[in-house]
Amino acid sequence: MSSYLPAVAEQLLRDIKKVYQETSRIPDDLLLALKFVFGPSALQALDLVDQRSVTCLSSPSGRSVFQVIGGSGRLYTCYTSCHYCPCPSFAFSVLRRNDSLLCKHILAAYLCQTMGLSQQEVVTNQQMSDILCGKAGRGT
């Protein structure tokens, strides 16, 4: 998924990972950088991280996917190797207006990956197929 991010965002996530592994916290300067690079979705994503809203699902086939519980309690499925989220913000701000890099759910998935805070869950291959195509666990 990182190849879809600009270099500055990738570097920022690397910096956060390094510091978080050493201190278990994100210093203010990196929080400000997050806000600068990702805009208002940064704080909302950090809130989702605090609430442990991100789960990484994996199946026996080796396929994996993120599911993020949104602020309203709805479940959003985000892929691991490219940016997609069925939420309205992704449709409007990312796809339509092109004024955001990504929505808060995808950023929360990035941050949880970076900080090692995502929940882990195993599903069957059939369940994974249903989740990937949006038949199950979709935020609609």
Partner: protein, 261 residues
């Protein structure tokens, strides 16, 4: 994906190809590269067009066996078929190395909105299909590499007809919202534009029709920067002529080359 397209252009610049470019791409890829192809389209293909049947004698006879045709009739069926590919990737058979979706616009049901612009559902649906294809290709690439298969990575090719979809009245100079979404997920865009100046005004695809084909996108730029072999092929403009027997013939646009030089 760039190497597949370069192969098809090289292959067809010397001899006529087939009217259905995508089926010809899949046959060429399967025959020349020996890779497995998954071809997804809403309309079942009853038989191969004549010119392709004629050229089969020159192709590897096992080529067609490497192509699997699937005919999902709706957006939901397409997503389901692509999403379930991981279930078969762990079996004894190697997974496909090329995923082709012919006619993506036919899976986007909403079409133009009241103001003539595509509805945002179309953009989100195009993003969902494209992202699932890209994510699936990344997964299948890992599986192919684990098997030490020479046919890694897994590539994706999608066709999208903006005229049929009703967006921008087929005007390629106007930005198309769905195309801009596709550009997010696919590194190379091949634009096929009718050449009205050099051919009689036939219906698209009819004998005598001429087309201009050119490539753009970050994938082309990256190929040039890396000095890859396919770079020069993809960076140039191509002419596509439909011959009286329905066959297609590609040729490099020499005036374009001179302009660039």
């Amino acid at each position: 994906m760039a190497d597949i397209l370069a192969l098809v252009l090289r292959h067809n610049s010397a001899r006529p190809g087939d009217l259905n470019n995508f089926s010809f791409t899949s046959v060429t890829a399967a025959s020349e590269l020996g890779v497995k192809v998954l071809f997804l389209t809403p309309t079942p293909i009853q038989k191969l067009p004549g010119p392709l049947q004629d050229s089969l004698a020159n192709l590897n006879p096992d080529g067609l066996k490497k192509i699997k045709f699937m005919y999902p009739r709706s957006q939901e069926e397409l997503l389901q078929d692509v999403a379930s590919l991981h279930e078969y990737a762990c079996g004894p058979a190697a997974p496909p190395s090329l995923l082709i979706v012919d006619g993506l616009e036919r899976y986007l049901g909403a079409g133009a909105g009241p103001d003539g612009s595509p509805q945002k559902e179309d953009q989100l649906a195009a993003a969902h299909i494209s992202a699932l294809l890209a994510d699936t290709a990344a997964f299948l690439t890992r599986k192919l590499e684990e098997r030490s298969e020479a046919c890694a990575p897994c590539r994706v090719i999608v066709s999208f007809d903006i005229a049929r979809q009703g967006h921008a009245s087929g005007d390629l100079t106007a930005p198309d919202p769905v195309l801009s979404v596709l550009d997010r997920y696919f590194p190379v865009r091949g634009t096929l534009d009718r050449d009205w100046s050099s051919a009689p005004p036939n219906t698209a695809g009819e004998p005598g029709a001429a087309w201009q084909l050119y490539f753009s996108g970050v994938g082309v730029t990256a190929s040039h920067a890396a000095g890859k072999e396919e770079g020069p092929f993809l960076g140039q403009q191509w002419c596509l002529a439909i011959r009286p027997n329905g066959a297609m013939e590609f040729s490099m646009n020499s005036s374009e080359n001179q302009t660039k030089e």
